[in-house]
Amino acid sequence: MNVNVALIDDVSPETQLIASEAGPAPKRIVVGYGFWIFLLSDIVMFAALFAAYAVLAHATAGGPTGAELFNQVSVAIETGCLLASSYTCGLMSLAVGSQRRFRTYLAAVVTFVLGAAFLGLELREFAGMIAVGATPQRSAFLSAFFTLVGCHGLHVTVGLIWLVVMMFQVAVKGFRATVERRLLCFSLFWHALDIIWVWLFTVVYLMGVIS
């Protein structure tokens, strides 16, 4: 590989950079690209839910408003959990890259616990809201809120199940190329969920409290 680079460098430094000259892209790149397209389509779906929420945010029909319902401390802890879990997920993909089994399991367990803590806090928040009568049926604002935040929570749930499945695959199959590509897709998914949460806590919780 190094020899190859040296030879090409003699001819032209740019040759190495032209994608079409280097032959077909590695499967890892292709898989990552395909999954990236899926993630973007998922984000477009979230954009529709965000648009619906933003339009209906003040349609409370005389019911409770966001400023009355949202608990910022709880949201801050949820944000911290998800951000830390995104970080440990990154550490997990580094451990996978260097094929270290123990570090992979450790990072996966921490990622799972933080993700589950996020989900638990969110469900407790939902239960508290429903207990005071702020159900999805109460107003258009609450319908949009539960759809948007619930959809993100559902994605986190799916991610947690996926993580467990991937750890079983690592345990049974080891660090095969296919397993590594699936883990790559998982980490992309998990980081994308964190990006959606950034917009969620900004648009729903923080902007809901100030206005």
Partner: protein, 131 residues
């Protein structure tokens, strides 16, 4: 040896810059990303709760902070770069951002416009239509 780069079957390549660069610098990248994200998140919560800032600008400030944090996540966590391997990813991302902006801004503009028209008294509406 010298031809391995071209003779590989499609998708067989295992040597990757991300993996080759070693774990320690990878940890550094994620840690920088985490630190920046924590700072931006803390700023968002502070901006939303402080009374020092002009209320009208808070929404815009929060949006700017969210955009910045999205950038941090994309670069440090998702590793979307300007490298040649990433050209397609960046193009797809640009398209995705365009669609998202069209959906969100378009919906808000249209609904705000409809609301404004609904609020108008009947004679004003009439004038508006005749003009």
């Amino acid at each position: 040896m010298s031809d391995t780069h071209y003779d590989r079957a499609p998708g067989d390549a295992t040597a990757l810059p991300d993996v080759e660069q070693g774990t320690s610098s990878g940890v550094l990248v994620y840690t920088i990303g985490l630190a920046l994200a924590v700072v931006l998140t803390a700023m968002s919560f502070w901006v939303a709760n402080t009374s020092l800032l002009w209320v009208g600008g808070v929404s815009l400030g929060l949006t700017v902070l969210a955009v910045a944090q999205m950038g941090v996540h994309l670069v440090f966590f998702l590793h979307v770069t300007t490298g040649p391997d990433n050209t397609n990813n960046v193009m797809a991302l640009a398209f995705g951002v365009l669609i998202v902006a069209l959906i969100v801004i378009g919906s808000l503009l249209i609904m705000a416009d409809l609301n404004a028209n609904m609020m108008m008294p009947a004679e004003m509406m009439n004038l508006h239509l005749q003009r």
